[in-house]
């Protein structure tokens, strides 16, 4: 950390007077020059106000939707995995599609909190808290599918290297086991990172609480944080380290998820392009979901001064960039298949675009490659309704991407006699729909009880937080 007081006393380099550089205005992170107190009141006000009616309405709807997953899983456990539409040759149906979809959603949260922190992108401060919450809840939803896909869910602990009655250990050559470690590490580190970020804000709420119960609860979780600079010193270092650790983590998690496919021998899966292509797709879908969640919140809670047009611009541009990368990967897969001159590989890709699942392929292409291209235009980036609609397309498209990858390759594998057409059952559909309910329940609880934005971090990026501001 450069010593700020010494830099102010040093004379400016003489060259600056000669070339007289143009002062490039930086976009403000908080519009209308709001004070520290305004930020505290705004964010804490959301938690302290009376629970709004819309919150209860949404919460009840979300609970009802979440019950679909509950019933679906109870039925699955009591009957068997056959209630999902899995049948030879497609034994990885919606379960793995939904798993990859939800894990991918989570990645934007970590990207915003970790990678943008390392890159000193100050605009992350007003969206990182909610995006990290989204990450954690998305990992919860994702984790359900593989855990229940194992069939005898009460034996799912066999996945971990724990001594069991068979005296046999898991096979560490399997990418599926790598996934267990990657996803559980990801979930754990995301929670830790989120909690460390919450500490100062929990202390703020604790100090403002009027009710004893809240004081004790928020106080307990705030761990006695008091904003001491001797603490901030270690805290900031710890936060930076966690950002530095989460960055390779987030890249590795989706890489390992892609290994589930890439280290198999199935045509269409066995490609080296998968890791970067999956990571780009994950960030793309995650930012789609961040926009889907944040734009309504911004409108409901009048947060326009904190999530400014500049923030939306930044997010849409990332969606545009990663969407274009994903489009490039779709094209490159065809090139690799053609150039590799492997009949099975070529067939797999022609079948994707023109075979029995062509409808899914073209939904994927139009949502993922075409829809983000609208973000080239400033007028569209400034129209929040359109941005929100496009973000929905991104979410839909990325679900279809995982569907296309999983199902087209499996349903048309090496031996034509085993070919089949996979369709989900009603249990599949409702279990999946229910996870949106589960996600919403968790997210609604989050916005009701925890500070939606990182107050301390937002205050620190305002101009008046700079000790040299006049």
């Amino acid at each position: 950390m450069a010593s700020a007081h010494s830099s102010s006393s040093e004379p400016k380099p003489a060259i600056l007077a000669e070339v007289n550089p143009v002062d490039i205005p930086r976009a403000a992170m908080v519009d209308n020059n709001r004070s520290f107190n305004w930020i505290t009141e705004k964010i804490c006000g959301i938690i302290e106000e009376k629970t709004p009616t819309w919150w209860w309405v949404l919460f009840i709807i979300a609970c009802c939707t979440a019950s679909f997953t509950l019933f679906g899983l109870v039925y699955l456990v009591s009957t068997g995995v056959g209630v999902w539409g899995l049948a030879n040759p497609v034994n990885w149906g919606w379960a793995i599609v939904n798993f990859v979809f939800w894990i991918g959603i989570g990645h934007a949260g970590t990207l915003i909190s970790a990678i943008l922190c390392l890159l000193r992108q100050k605009w992350r401060t007003s969206i990182n808290r909610a995006a990290e919450a989204m990450t954690i809840f998305a990992v919860v939803c994702a984790g359900l599918f593989p855990v229940f896909h194992v069939g005898r869910v009460w034996l799912a602990w066999f996945l971990f290297p724990l001594p069991n009655a068979n005296a046999i250990w898991p096979n560490f050559r399997s990418a599926l086991l790598w996934d267990v470690f990657a996803v559980s590490t990801y979930g754990t580190v995301s929670v830790l990172f989120w909690y460390v970020g919450l500490l100062p804000d929990l202390a703020t709420i604790r100090d403002r609480c009027t009710s004893k119960v809240k004081q004790v609860l928020y106080g307990f979780f705030a761990l006695g944080w008091r904003g001491s600079n001797r603490h901030w010193r270690n805290y900031e270092m710890c936060y930076l380290l966690l950002a530095g650790l989460s960055t390779p983590l987030v890249l590795s998690v989706h890489t390992i998820v892609s290994f589930d496919f890439a280290i198999s021998l199935v045509p269409g899966w066995h490609t080296t392009i998968f890791p970067p292509y999956f990571v780009a797709g994950a960030i793309f879908s995650g930012f789609g979901m961040v926009l889907t969640l944040m734009l309504p919140l911004r409108a409901v809670y009048r947060l326009e001064d904190l999530i400014t047009q500049y923030h939306i611009d930044c997010m849409t541009k990332i969606v545009l960039a990663t969407g274009t990368m994903v489009g490039y990967a779709y094209g490159m897969e065809f090139f690799i298949a053609a150039y590799g001159a492997n009949d099975f590989e070529i067939f797999a890709f022609v079948n994707r675009a023109f075979g029995n699942y062509a409808w899914a392929y073209w939904i994927m292409i139009s949502c993922n490659v075409i829809s983000p291209q609208f973000f080239w235009f400033k007028s569209i980036r400034e129209n929040t309704t359109l941005v929100w609609i496009i973000s929905i397309f991104v979410n839909v498209g990325m679900w279809f991407e995982r569907f296309v990858i999983t199902v087209t390759s499996l349903s048309r594998d090496f031996v034509p006699s085993s070919w089949g057409y996979y369709s989900p059952t009603v249990v599949d559909i409702f279990t999946y729909l229910g996870t949106f309910g589960l996600f919403s329940v968790l997210f609604l609880l989050f916005i009701r009880f925890l500070p939606l934005m990182a107050m301390a971090e937002i205050k620190a990026v305002t101009p008046q937080a700079d000790p040299h501001h006049h």
């Binding site: 006695g224 008091r226 600079n229 270690n234 380290l241």
Partner: protein, 176 residues
């Protein structure tokens, strides 16, 4: 009558608190602290604090995580119950790498947070600052500096006059 913990001064802006901290540092005090609602850039040198040693915990955690991963995989798959699959070697750092990599990160993250908690002596649910009447302002938009009575240089008159010379908004006593 509550025991006195120290003298506390209140400031309105980050610039004021930083200049105040520089002067208290130069006066040679050791047992004092600055309370701010957010980390102020440049406050560490202004207080004369050195770089945090949390990274040392991280490197220990990371090394431990990586060796745990590698040795666990060797022990489980190549030693305790040999699993021979497709004639592949019983152990290779290649297939053991992804899991060891994840454990490196997991252990490092735990170690960093543990390091931060240990260095900060958290959780600490009791501290005189938390009882101060303006604690809500200290985590909102005001900046405080206190000097403890436990400081060897502390004396009622000289410390108070030092704090007064810093142009604070207000000086108050901090009860233990």
């Amino acid at each position: 009558m509550a025991k006195k913990y120290g003298l506390i001064a209140k400031f309105d802006t980050p610039a004021d608190i930083m200049h105040a901290a520089e002067k208290v540092r130069d006066a040679g005090y050791k047992q004092w602290d600055v309370i701010t609602p957010f980390p102020i850039h440049g406050m560490d040198p202004a207080m004369g604090l050195k770089r945090s040693i949390v990274p040392r915990f991280t490197i220990v955690g990371g090394t431990l995580g990586f060796t745990t991963g590698m040795s666990m995989i060797w022990f489980t798959n190549a030693y305790d119950y040999k699993i021979l699959i497709g004639g592949k070697p019983l152990f290779s750092p290649m297939f053991a790498f992804p899991v060891s990599y994840e454990l490196t990160i997991l252990f490092s993250a735990f170690a960093s947070i543990a390091g931060m908690f240990i260095m900060n002596k958290l959780p600490m649910h009791y501290h005189p600052m938390l009882k101060h009447k303006e604690v809500a302002a200290s985590s909102d938009d005001k900046f405080f500096l206190y000097i403890e009575t436990a400081d060897p240089q502390y004396s009622e008159e000289s410390t108070r006059s030092l704090l007064e010379s810093l142009n604070p908004v207000e000086i108050d006593e901090l009860d233990d």
